[in-house]
Symmetry: C2
Subunit: 323 residues, 2 copies
């Protein structure tokens, strides 16, 4: 019953209809995204500990944060990248779940009062609003740690060398020289003299904060599929362009969309006086760059042959999304 | 210069002289503990990222938390357990550093205002007092993630199967069914009807909150030394008794010692109306149980032969410590 509710929540995140550019191709993608989101939610539901004992509140908060919808973009990238090389589906699914645990933990901690202080996430109260700050902090810690437990488990892949590559890759993407570094830069006060407000600095911040985990999501699929170096490099460039376009669209939506559309607070960067792609490039400049990145991302896929239709359509989805 | 100061800080944590029961044996142990603490601090100094770039504040806070002294009890256990079986010293040292990163992260997050709200740790301002809450949160996240990066690195051990065992073991000890579960139970409000205030519940909470990581510190030494099953089981029981005695002494010190002696706030549990071993057993009851656990821990070592003198002396150190 719990899961049925979540399934509706997932499918609602990928509306089919006006607002999407290429009718039937986008409908196929929306269905595919929704189906993957459901699979991830169901897999996480089976993997995460069930609330019991005096620590039940922790497990309940972990599940609240991890099972309450979300685009599941990173798991989708892992699954679709791996499928290009016929990687094992169980390995892909468990790895995708670990990556989504890390993504979820980062949102839970990012939403805390001492960080972005958000009340709304994925259209629901943030974890610290639904529970309390201490529980949200611990649920984030637990989700992060659980991700590595998942990856190191022989059920994820029979070869321990592969499991170590996944653990090391996820730790680098998420840790002090990856995502957390990006969060730190993002938390820094706007400088009085405008230092650090340039495109190079904003680009690097976003490459760390959101790009590193998106890049690893694709890389994990390549690793599990034993992709050739050429294919890995092409997909790494695709991931980099997709990650950057994704963030630019986020920054555009922050000024263009309502909180209701976003499922989270809108106009946050402007309210906080924060610098982002739109403040540096202007809305038109950011839109132009998104189109350029989208074209470039699709061009990288060309060397991989005809099976990349889904990853190509995903670029349009990311560019045209309203949340 | 930075490290020289830290070295003094480390050595100050293990005073030699009155207050210790067995003169020269304790002096040897104090020197050994101080030397290990120094080695861990120096190794962490070399391993942790150096402050640079716009994210320098993150690295600085990680180093502040991790290099500012501490007993380094868990690393000591890993090194001494591993040495019983002639494990590789580099593997032991890197694993010990990973475990200490996790211990440090847990303290940084535990000290945050939404958790125990402490101003003092290891005689210094807590990380969120020295920096700010967001930076402390992120530094904790980064230290936790970095621990897994360290363990998955081939420099830790050439065999990926061993690295996976270490990653999985640390994740289980630290994660939702280990340390974080214990923290969650500890954060729970005291129940009105006294449910959960019994010895069984307190024991389980402490086994999760502090015992699991102490047990893994010993287990990691056994893994790296390819110890026999008999030896592992004996040391696992030793670790369990040591962990429980350690916590009971902590609870006794909370009512008996000053903040100056502890290097952290004193009388916290009483002020918060928290249940602990002393509130459940009484001070005399807790002291009697500590002595029983100490004897039992030493008895477990007997099957391991004559090389366990240091681990045996450590039991007395833990029981007699004043911080």
């Amino acid at each position: 019953m719990h899961l049925a509710g979540l399934r509706i929540c997932c499918s609602e995140m990928f509306p089919v209809g006006p607002g999407f550019a290429n009718g039937s191709r986008m409908s196929d993608l929306s269905r595919s995204l929704a189906a993957t989101a459901d699979r991830i939610t169901i897999a996480l539901d089976a993997l995460l500990p069930r609330p019991q004992g005096p620590e039940a509140r922790l497990f309940s908060a972990m599940r609240y944060a991890a099972l309450g919808g979300g685009k599941r973009l990173r798991p989708f990238l892992t699954l679709e990248a791996g499928r290009l090389f016929d990687a094992d589906e169980t390995a892909l699914l468990r790895t995708a779940c670990a990556i989504e645990c890390v993504q979820t933990y980062s949102l839970v901690h990012d939403d805390l009062p001492c960080m972005d202080d958000d009340d709304l996430r994925r259209g629901q109260p943030t974890t610290h609003k639904a529970y309390d700050e201490a529980t949200a902090l611990l649920a984030g810690d637990a989700l992060l740690t659980f991700a590595f437990e998942l990856l190191a488990d022989p059920q994820t892949h029979p070869d321990p060398k592969m499991r170590c590559l996944l653990v090391a890759g996820l730790a680098k993407a998420a840790g002090p020289t990856g995502m957390v570094a990006g969060q730190m830069i993002d938390m820094g006060p706007p400088s009085d003299d405008g230092a650090g407000d340039d495109l190079v600095t904003i680009t690097r911040m976003n490459r760390l904060k959101t790009g590193a985990l998106i890049a690893f999501a694709v890389e994990a699929g390549c690793l599990l599929g034993a992709a050739s170096d050429d294919a890995r490099h092409a997909l790494a460039r695709y991931a980099q362009d997709v990650g950057m376009a994704f963030q630019m669209v986020d920054d555009l939506l922050d000024i263009e969309a309502s909180a209701e559309e976003l499922g989270k607070g809108a106009g946050k960067d402007a309210a906080a006086g924060k610098v982002n792609f739109v403040t540096v490039l202007g809305a038109d400049g950011a839109r132009a760059r998104v189109r350029m990145l989208a074209d470039q991302a699709k061009a990288h896929l060309a060397v991989l042959g005809p099976r990349t239709g889904v990853l190509s359509a995903l670029v349009d989805y990311i560019v045209d999304r309203r949340r």
